[in-house]
Symmetry: C2
Subunit: 200 residues, 2 copies
DNA sequence: AAAAACTTACCTAGTGTAAGGTAGGTAAAT
DNA sequence: ATTTACCTACCTTACACTAGGTAAGTTTTT
């Protein structure tokens, strides 16, 4: 039905396609170089545009970064929600699946790891984004863990908040080692061991 | 005994003092901005030098970074060795003290965290440094944990290598959260909880 | 239905500035 | 007499972003 080859049809369509392509290449570039190391020219080229072409869609590098992060956040939350539901709200199982999934997208894992580390400086554009993200996620997990403790799924001799923090720490820390030596580190297996330690 | 005020005495002394001052300010700057974000001019100014003055002592930014890392590594290994010895080779206790110590030097913790994240790209000057460092430390810990397992100090139902990886992951991950919200996260307390889980 | 008016997606060319590093010198220490 | 520590002045490149234009798509007017 669609006439595809060279001429892309409506303007709305072209715009959407361009923005998507830009976000995709920006995601890759930020993942590999971080915010400060990524060059607008590289991102533009990877999206088949010139630099001003890129800037037509996103007014500055900072804006672009924030859009990339928001987009990823949206996709990931949605994914987690779905996985949780699919696993009958069993948090431990769902989170293991999340880690397994992460093992298939090293680029994205690296994106968040690197930007997270960069963003610890208070003057980084994503500083607040990550602080808010952690707080939000932590609250979410504290709730879920509390429930799992009441169900007898998770050990109750340690507070839900402590468990939430430890779990995040483990996820983040494993990611770093996995990114450094992907063949050596079996991230999801290791995460599973940790989860066993948290069982009631 | 030393005549201190304005004129620093011998050249050897001046050189050592300058290099130390440079390393100190470079450490701070790299910690706050990462390698790519740190500017030679800032480092130079913080060391009371001009840029070429700095470059007289370290021929390039990359050289400077490597010196900073090697220096830290030296100090930290020495510290760990001493602490271990002081604690009668009890690894768990010694590592808790290490984490407590880290809580007093956020700048250094941030230095390693940020550079570690940056260095995951294969073209980063510190890429190999960190891979080697991890391997070395892991081996060291595997040995120590194996011994602790034989002494009945540490649970033996999980392999020493797995425990080593998990411990590092936890340390790194806790550091990130602690750096983001220092008042909220009691890093050494949380680490202690983890260590309890590893007890036999 | 076609022309006119406008909006959008991009481009080429250029700007300002920052940043790593060099050249070559001076003055103090050895 | 020579080496060392450091400076001023400069160079080159890189990079985020602007100015101003063209051509295609879209809406309005007749």
């Amino acid at each position: 039905m669609k006439q595809s080859p060279t001429p892309r049809r409506t303007q709305a369509e072209r715009t959407r396609a361009s923005r998507e392509k830009i976000i995709r290449s920006a995601t890759e570039t930020f993942a590999q170089k971080g915010f400060r190391g990524a060059k607008m020219a590289d991102i533009a080229k990877a999206a088949n545009l010139t630099e001003p072409g890129l800037l037509h869609h996103f007014p500055s590098k900072t804006h672009l970064l924030m859009e990339v992060l928001k987009e990823r956040d949206r996709i990931d939350s949605e994914r987690m929600r779905a996985t949780l539901q699919q696993n009958g709200n069993h948090l431990l199982e769902a989170s293991i699946e999340l880690v397994e999934h992460n093992q298939t997208v090293p680029g994205l894992v690296q994106l968040f790891n690197l930007l997270l580390a960069e963003s610890i400086s208070a003057d980084h554009p994503a500083h607040e984004f990550f602080i808010e993200r952690y707080q939000r996620e932590r609250e979410h997990w504290v709730q879920a863990i509390t429930q799992a403790q009441q169900n007898g799924e998770v050990r109750a001799d340690i507070s839900a908040e402590t468990l939430a923090i430890l779990t995040f720490a483990m996820m983040d820390g494993l990611q770093v080692q996995w990114l450094m030596e992907p063949e050596k580190i079996d991230m999801s297996e290791l995460y599973r061991v940790m989860m066993e330690m948290l069982r009631a």
